[in-house]
């Protein structure tokens, strides 16, 4: 598989296989459904939705989805029952549970039934993107461990970053930040989303996220010195966006 195939499959602008990435969103809250659909469509995925348990049963009976976003509390039944059914079909490993309940019990049950991930509401769009892509990578592009953009390559397995085939040393957090940005190419990554992803889902964050700025500054400097064809732009002081030059 050529180096760029992962990106050509996952990112919209490398249009080759994107039509084939089909995602099912099972969520009863209409507005949340709309926003998730709008966001994932920007990534070029094809998305179908189901509002309740039976709607979801119908859909999964007909089509094999590449990724399923599943709410646990559904009108008509439990998402866990649905997951059970998916497991019987051998399809539960591409499921991301989206739940308002951050319950260890549900989480363990869900992961036990083969779900790939568990995302608690409320979540950031950037986080959802990253998780969906991780599922696709694990299940659809096995063996692929790099993300490429412009003249840069990020190997998340070896935790290495190359610009023009030259290794650029990054510390753990710089690497995580860059990885997150690359998974959310051209998308807004808010400071909050970044802080939660890289510094952990802290419970009592009693300050602003200004400290992130100095981290971004360091990365920008490294990218610039190495002559990378990507850059990180600030977006209205709310967050950042990674783009190809």
């Amino acid at each position: 598989m050529p180096r760029s195939s992962f990106f050509s499959q996952v990112f919209p602008d490398s249009n080759a296989y994107i039509c084939c990435m089909k995602i099912l969103l099972v969520e009863d809250q209409k507005e949340l459904q709309n926003t998730v659909v709008a966001s994932l469509e920007k990534e070029g995925f094809v998305i179908e939705t189901a509002d309740d348990y039976y709607g979801a049963i119908d859909k999964i009976g007909v089509y094999k989805y590449d990724c399923i976003l599943l709410d646990i509390m559904l009108p008509g039944g439990s998402g866990l029952d649905l997951l059970n059914q998916l497991k019987e079909q051998g399809q539960s490993n591409n499921v991301i549970i989206i739940s308002a309940k951050d319950s260890l019990d549900d989480k363990l049950k869900g992961l036990d039934l083969g779900a790939d991930d568990y995302l608690t509401k409320p979540f950031h769009i950037a986080e959802l993107n990253a998780r969906v892509k991780a599922v696709l990578r694990r299940n659809k592009f096995k063996g692929k461990t790099t993300i490429e953009l412009g003249n840069t390559v990020l190997d998340f397995e070896e935790r290495l970053f190359f610009v023009k085939d030259e290794n650029i040393p990054l510390n753990r957090k710089e690497f995580d930040i860059l990885n997150y940005f690359l998974l959310n190419k051209n998308r807004l990554v808010t400071k909050t989303a970044l802080a939660e992803h890289v510094w952990g889902d802290d419970i009592d964050q009693a300050d602003n996220f200004d400290f992130i700025y100095s981290q971004i500054k360091n990365i920008r400097k490294k990218l610039q010195t190495a002559g990378a064809e990507i850059e990180i732009e600030a977006v209205y002081g709310i967050g950042y966006k990674l783009t190809e030059k």
Binding site: Q29, E31, L32, T35, V36, A38, S39, K42, A100, K101, D102, S103, L104, D105, T120, K121, P122, F123, H124, I125, A126, R172, K173, R187, L188, T190, T192, W199, G200, D202, I203, D204, Q205, A206, D207, N208, D210, F211, S214, Q215, V235, Y236, G237, I238, G239
Partner: protein, 428 residues
């Protein structure tokens, strides 16, 4: 004072009073009875003497000395009184001891009466030995004293055997009640045939059930309310993120949106904190495993180093001993990270955070405001110092809830201008 001892005390007091009154009454009535009986004897003797005098015993009229034959007769002139007079008095009586005759004063009952013989009035005095009241009283006192002691001994024995047995269900119930904690489903229960104790148990359990229900409802309400807010919050955040992504915003509009996102962010954290508290209190973290506190500390320090650097706060970690505890690892992370975050955020520029592990104690000290915090209030929910408006005010409440869950002791002190939190990991 224990109920049994109080019972004994009261009983002994009342018994003493009752026995004292009773003994006086008893003594008086006995004395009265004795006198009655002696008086009858004296009366009889008097009649006999008068009879003998009248039937030829006129020599008896010359008995003047009371001490020999226990009576005396003397002539009287003038006034004649046919009434009998009884008196208690002391008279010298003959006492033969070792074949010697001695006179000794003895307590006697004396009957003084008048009679006529051949137109001449005589005064007849008859005496009989009386019990000595002193002796009687002393004997009676000792008898009563022994009676009292025996009664008390009986009461103590009965108290200990019977009352202790009777009150046993009560004490067992009380002991369970002391150990009862809200949120536990096991109510105090003890077997008893005593109506009062059964009633007490019923009344108590109704009360406990009500409290538990109210407590559960409150917990459930917080949990449910927080859950119900998660989806609307998700919609709001995601919509705003999409709106920003659309671009084409003027800087003032973007600023407004940024402000709204900021507030929503706080709301999300508040909500998560409340949910976490509810979960801790509901004991929904059961994934206990052996966790190295030192490991978590290193991890936490590494995680927070950028934030500390930005705040210009220096963190030092002094691992003198290794602490390993049996607990949920995510709770350990929250516990330690909340304490260290707290120490960083409520710090001053160029301040420091000193973390020290010694024996089974974790000590986190930081520079900060110059005065001690209110140790009573800092662990309360929503307690905030005036200056900090961004925190949820739940960070330390969460720390405390975790400590309670695992029985760790947590304390705050202010020494040498350092705010210190001390956490003792008591492993049971």
């Amino acid at each position: 004072m224990k109920l049994i001892n109080r019972t004994i005390l009261y009983l002994s007091g009342f018994l003493l009073l009752a026995i004292s009154i009773w003994s006086v009454v008893f003594y008086l009535s006995i004395i009265d009875e004795i006198k009655d009986s002696i008086d009858d004897g004296l009366e009889d003797k008097k009649e006999r003497i008068i009879y003998e005098v009248r039937h030829g015993g006129s020599d008896m009229l010359s008995v003047k000395d009371l001490s020999k034959r226990f009576f005396s007769i003397e002539k009287i002139e003038g006034e004649y009184n046919s009434k009998n007079r009884y008196l208690d008095t002391l008279v010298p009586l003959e006492d033969i001891e070792d074949e010697k005759i001695e006179h000794e004063l003895e307590a006697v009952r004396m009957l003084v009466s008048h009679f006529k013989y051949k137109e001449q009035g005589y005064k007849l005095v008859v005496v009989n030995l009386m019990v000595e009241e002193d002796d009687l009283m002393e004997a009676a006192f000792w008898d009563i004293f022994w009676l009292y002691l025996i009664l008390m001994a009986c009461i103590i024995i009965i108290d200990n055997l019977v009352l202790r047995k009777l009150w046993k269900p009560f004490y067992s119930f009380l002991e369970q009640l002391k150990k009862f904690k809200l949120g536990h489903s096991v109510f105090p229960k003890t077997k008893t045939k005593t109506r009062e104790f059964q009633d007490l148990q019923k009344a108590m359990n109704i009360l406990l059930r009500h409290s538990t229900e109210a407590y559960e409802q409150q917990k459930q309400f917080i949990g449910n309310a927080s859950h119900e807010m998660q989806t609307p919050l998700a919609v709001t955040i995601n919509k705003l993120e999409l709106l920003i992504e659309e671009g084409d915003l003027k800087p003032p509009q973007a600023e407004h949106i940024a402000a709204v996102m900021d507030v929503i962010g706080q709301l999300v954290k508040l909500n998560k904190s409340l949910l976490l508290l509810t979960k801790i209190e509901n004991k929904q973290f059961l994934d206990n495993q052996q966790v190295s506190v030192n490991e978590i500390l290193r991890e936490c320090k590494d995680n927070l180093q950028e934030i500390a650097a930005y705040k210009q706060v220096d963190i030092t970690l002094d691992n003198q001993d290794e602490i390993s505890v049996q607990m949920d690892i995510s709770l350990t992370r929250i516990l330690i990270s909340n304490l260290i975050r707290n120490a960083i955020f409520y710090n001053i520029t160029d301040g420091k955070v000193e973390v020290k592990v010694e024996k089974n104690v974790l000590r986190i000290c930081n520079t900060g405001v110059d005065t001690a915090l209110d140790a009573e209030k800092i662990f309360d929910r929503f307690y905030k110092l005036g200056q900090s408006q961004k925190g949820t005010g739940l960070g330390l409440s969460i720390v405390q809830a975790i400590c309670k869950l695992y029985n760790f002791s947590l304390s705050y002190s202010f020494k040498n201008k350092l705010h210190c939190f001390e956490l003792e990991f008591n492993q049971n």
